[in-house]
């Protein structure tokens, strides 16, 4: 497989994706869309390939996901989710539609939608959390990080991971939990 698996630092981590989303939402800004596309479309495609989609499906689906980003831009709430998280949820749902051919029930929407002018502090705080999360994920011991990643894009259940890696189920679950806990501690530690 030609996809780089090792996470790496990326200058684009500092790009203000939320501002681009607002430009898409408010001004139908195709340049902002092109920038977002250049960053996220290859990641969505890699995510889908790692989830077991073939080349054609991953290509079509990545394009659809990015079109959905445009279509649903008015639903994006920068004080609740980062752009990466939001696109992840769209890609995941599309993946379930296509690969599993089943529905994924979604929770009821909160009674309040995105604000026209979200609180800037909330948006900044969320963005900072994202950066911490990102670096915390990269700093996890390889064993824990790989398992967490496989859970998300491997489309593997814990018992399927067990079958594939030969690790006992209990070990896998505790490693995943440990990994997530470390992520959270890493983020809490930075708060102080």
């Amino acid at each position: 497989m030609s996809i780089a698996t090792k996470p790496r630092a990326d200058q684009s981590i500092d790009e203000d994706w939320a501002a681009l989303m607002v430009a898409i939402r408010d001004h139908e800004d195709t340049q902002a869309f092109a920038a977002l596309f250049a960053h996220f479309a290859p990641r969505v495609k890699a995510f889908l390939l790692k989830s077991g989609a073939n080349e054609t499906l991953a290509e079509d689906c990545a394009q659809e996901v990015l079109t959905t980003v445009w279509r649903k831009s008015h639903l994006f709430d920068p004080s609740r989710a980062t752009v990466a998280t939001w696109i992840f949820t769209i890609a995941r749902n599309r993946k379930i539609d296509l690969l599993r051919k089943e529905r994924r029930p979604e929770p009821e929407d909160l009674p309040w939608g995105p604000e026209p002018e979200p609180d800037a502090d909330d948006v900044i705080a969320l963005e900072q959390e994202r950066k911490k999360m990102q670096s915390a994920l990269i700093q996890l011991p390889d064993k824990q990080r790989i398992l967490i990643e496989r859970c998300y894009f491997g489309d593997l259940s814990h018992s399927e991971i067990a079958a594939e890696t030969g690790l006992p189920l209990g070990t896998i679950k505790s490693r995943i939990r440990l990994g997530l806990e470390r992520l959270r501690r890493e983020m809490d530690a930075d708060k102080e």
């Binding site: 030609s2 996809i3 996470p7 939402r25 195709t30 869309f33 092109a34 596309f37 250049a38 996220f40 479309a41 290859p42 990641r43 969505v44 495609k45 890699a46 995510f47 390939l49 790692k50 991953a58 290509e59 990545a62 394009q63 079109t67 279509r71 989710a81 980062t82 990466a84 998280t85 696109i87 992840f88 949820t89 995941r92 599993r100 089943e102 529905r103 994924r104 029930p105 979604e106 929770p107 009821e108 009674p111 939608g113 995105p114 604000e115 026209p116 994202r130 999360m133 990102q134 994920l137 967490i148 990643e149 859970c151 998300y152 894009f153 489309d155 259940s157 995943i176 997530l180 992520l183």
Partner: protein
């Protein structure tokens, strides 16, 4: 986490989505797990798209009807669409709680199996106040979410919004509390094990 990653069978996803609709704490936990998903996506590596991919997307976008001004109007003080069933369930039960196609399963208990993918099944259960569901164990995992009323078993009391998670080690006899009938949403990935003979022979007919 498995719900966030999108690896649960549909039946379990439905229970989780319904529970999250009733529980803010778990909604927050879900959004935190989704955030990990976002971080994983950032680090998923990159796979080049076809050279004309962006052009194609832009062309698709041009075909969309113009959006017009976005309205941020909030729905007036959100009135629930159904008094018992949260939204995710309404996609599965057309017409809401009054239109559920209940089938009697004995002792006054009624059920309605909902259409989901075959890897696990999910049903609505109606247990009249004071009625006991026969003592049973589990071959797989059973999630039971209370929508109305409450039940007790050997372990705890479960009220609206609560989920009981039973695995193969759990054997229990749930009893509906006095008051309004207990309505639950229950998902299983394997048939239940009844200890008594009679429910056992009825089992294949009731599909539980």
């Amino acid at each position: 986490m498995a719900y966030s990653a999108g690896v649960l069978p549909e039946a379990f996803s439905l229970v989780v989505a319904t529970h999250i609709s009733m529980c803010d704490e778990c909604r927050a936990a879900l959004e935190a797990h989704d955030a990990v998903g976002g971080a994983v996506l950032e680090d998923a590596g990159e796979a080049a798209l076809a050279p004309d991919a962006l052009a194609k997307c832009l062309a698709d976008i041009q075909k969309l009807p113009p959006k017009g001004p976005i309205s941020f109007n909030k729905p007036a003080a959100s009135t629930p669409k159904d008094v018992v069933l949260p939204d995710p369930l309404l996609d599965y039960v057309e017409g809401g709680i009054d239109a559920v196609n209940w089938r009697p399963v004995g002792f006054g208990v009624k059920q309605a199996i909902l259409p989901t993918s075959k890897d696990a099944s999910v049903r609505l259960l109606y247990i009249p106040a004071g009625v006991e569901v026969p003592d049973h164990g589990h071959h797989g995992t059973e999630l039971t979410l209370v929508l109305q009323g409450a039940f007790r078993d050997e372990f705890d009391r479960f009220g609206p919004g609560d989920i009981e998670i039973a695995d193969p080690n759990v054997e229990h006899t749930p009893v509906a509390e006095e008051g309004p009938a207990c309505i639950c949403l229950a998902a299983t990935d394997a048939p239940l094990k009844f200890r008594k003979f009679l429910p056992k022979i009825a089992q294949p007919f009731l599909r539980i």
